[in-house]
């Protein structure tokens, strides 16, 4: 799990062009949206694409997004459960 979390941090930084942020700056339990990394709705769409492109996971119900993308850890947990 920890290995996946570190990988995800790097992928999120690259996909979302978070130039001034390093993996160490991201607390895996901090919220990604709002006070955390301050991501916006377009970033949320990019995260959906990231899951599909890198892990083959398609989110069928957009309502699940809030729970899945709460933090890097919740993303990693979802990937572990649904990875094909």
């Amino acid at each position: 799990m920890e290995e996946l979390i570190e990988k995800l941090k790097k992928e999120v930084i690259e996909q979302l062009n978070l130039e001034d942020i390093t993996p160490d700056d991201i607390n895996p339990d901090s919220p990604l949206f709002g006070e955390g990394l301050g991501l916006d709705s377009i970033d949320a769409l990019e995260l959906i694409v990231l899951l599909e492109k890198n892990y083959g996971i398609k989110i069928e119900d957009p309502k699940d997004g809030k729970k899945i993308f709460h933090s890097i850890r919740t993303m990693a947990e979802y990937i572990m459960e649904h990875k094909k």
């Binding site: 978070l18 130039e19 001034d20 377009i42 492109k53």
Partner: protein, 229 residues
Amino acid sequence: MDATLRSYIRKIKMDQIITTYCHLHDNRVIVNDRLIFYQENIVKFADLLKSVYKQEQITYPKFYKMDILSKLGFIAAELVLKDNKLEGYLPEDVGVVMSNSSSSLDTDIAHNETIRDRSSYFPSPSVFVYTLPNIVIGEVCIRHKIKGENAFLISETFSSNLLFSYVNELFANGRVKACLCGWVEVMGNTSDAMVALVENTGRDLQASVTGFKPLQFNVDNLNLIMTRN
């Protein structure tokens, strides 16, 4: 007094000047006749914009997410509007009129790359949102809280006539009291930007502090600053 005469009098009373301008071209950045940035051997234009961003100590993380066209317009506007140049204006009284030749084609091509292969069909939402040229205006307006008239004009080459007549009309009709206007072009390895702040002469002007003498807003001077490098 009939409406035509009233309109004519209003027009002749108006006198606009270019109080600040910025020209980004060929690895160099000019602001009000002064070279403020030059770097040799920059391969990617995005790197030049990033270097200027860092040199000017701008802090706006959204910058990194913009496409090149928006980054270019953003940096030019940032340099022009430095030191609260819009202070004293209502957001609704400030306009933005930009122009270019290639519209958003550079980003349209990038978007097309993500959808061309049906077996690897992953359109990027953050690229797609920039597939319109006027998004650069939106980025500038959000950053500087501008809510006035705006337009993005397309012409084959830089047209000072088109830009001047459009902006002049906005002033003449009282739609703006200040206007950011210029040319923001990106296509492949070609890029060029000129952005000018046009204001009414009546305002207490600070531009002279930098030693720059404001220019009359007209076609000749738009052409002049477009060739300053």
